[in-house]
Amino acid sequence: MKNILELDSISKIYHDPKTETLALKDISFSVADGELLSIIGPSGCGKSTLLSIISGLVAPSSGEVRVLRENAALGYMLQQDHLFGWRTIFQNACLGLEIQKKKTPENLAHVHELLERYGLGDFKNSKPSQLSGGMRQRAALIRTLAVKPDILLLDEPFSALDYQTRLRVSAEIAEIIRQEKKTAVFVTHDISEAVAVSDRVAVLTKRPATLASIHEIKLSPGSAREAPEFRLFFNAIWKELGVNE
């Protein structure tokens, strides 16, 4: 599979008047087209920063992010759904199109279709507060998908959900991403979630974060949690995170 995204020795230094903090140190990896790659690491290690750097919202102190497809669009999904309470679900889903001034009839039809396909057809005119946590997260994903991104960046998108919902929604969202044939970089601190949904898992060390290793997960997505090898992958990553602590 061809690479779509390459990170080349990314470092990030945070400055404040008292001191400077090296958050990320010399991180390089690449993401293949259509792949779902998780980034896992101890909390506060700079996973989210790395995602912000990939998205271009934050500039790295040194190093380079290369997107290997011309005019590739990126979609960002945050920890909370951040659906706007003053907009309906449909209006929320159209936010990105609105900002990019791409509210063409064709794109709007695409949003309608996504909402229908992923079970929100009856809630287009509802306010976010009327939806369950899982549905809201799906609506947030559709808002991201509406602008037809080539690469999805997900920053712990399920951390605000309770455990049961989280299990279901993470599988659901991973399924949608595969169905839509998107590439995704997914930040999490939950090992089992990473193993269950991804093709590869990149493990970061604690601050200053470096890339410890990348695990290839050879499990069939959807039923990964039932596979006997699940534990092996889990334990390997668990050990590595433990060693680095």
């Binding site: 919202l57 979609g75 951040h82 003053w86 900002i99 990019q100």
Partner: protein
Amino acid sequence: MSNPSPEHLEYLKKAKLGKLLVLASQALILAAFFGAWELAARLKLIDAFIFSQPTRIINAAVSLAASGSLAKHIGATLWESVLGFVLSTVIGTLMAMLLWWNDFLKKTLNPYLVVLNSLPKTALAPIIIVWIGNNVKSVIFTAVMTSVIVTILTVLTGFMEVSKDKIKLVEAFGGTKRQVLSKVVLPASIPAIVNALEINIGLSFVGVMVGEFLVAKSGLGYLIIYGSQILKMDWVMLSIIILCALAAILHQLVVLFEKRIINQ
């Protein structure tokens, strides 16, 4: 809830009764106050010439209303107050937008805003009159001055409290600063703006009263000052009661407006 249980009916009954009791007590306080006032005046416990009395106030209201001057005074005060509070809300919100936009400006002006906010703005009224003149413009200007600084600070605080992640979301879609303002910061700050509106009603009345005390030829503030000078205490008391009513009505309007906005 097609078939409420007896317990639920009992609960509803209690809740209703409690509400009625509060309302009745509120009405009773009002009635007792005016009743005691009237009685004290009739029994000559207080001098009705100085303290006035409810029946005299009603008579004053009737005769002032008949000559048409009551409507004129109420109209003047109402117009000045509403204009004052709408203007200061609009100007204050625009200023807050400017300061939100330009962080350097915000940091630079911050100490001035803090000092101006603590300054009793009524102290500026005489200066305003000297500068702008002995007219209605001065009254409205005083009203705006009293509430515009606190509006800037309230709305700006609202702007700054908008979740960073919501802003990040718009930026991740490639949104410009202008879009961050129009798509997130402003709509998310509507409660803060409505809150400022509520504060501004009271402050705007303060400004209008001070302005009218000093310059006006009409308005309830004028009526209060003029009435006290010629010892027509009935006029003074009447004006104050009308002011209470106006404040209550405007406050209620903002609350209704707020409910509509929040429910949207």
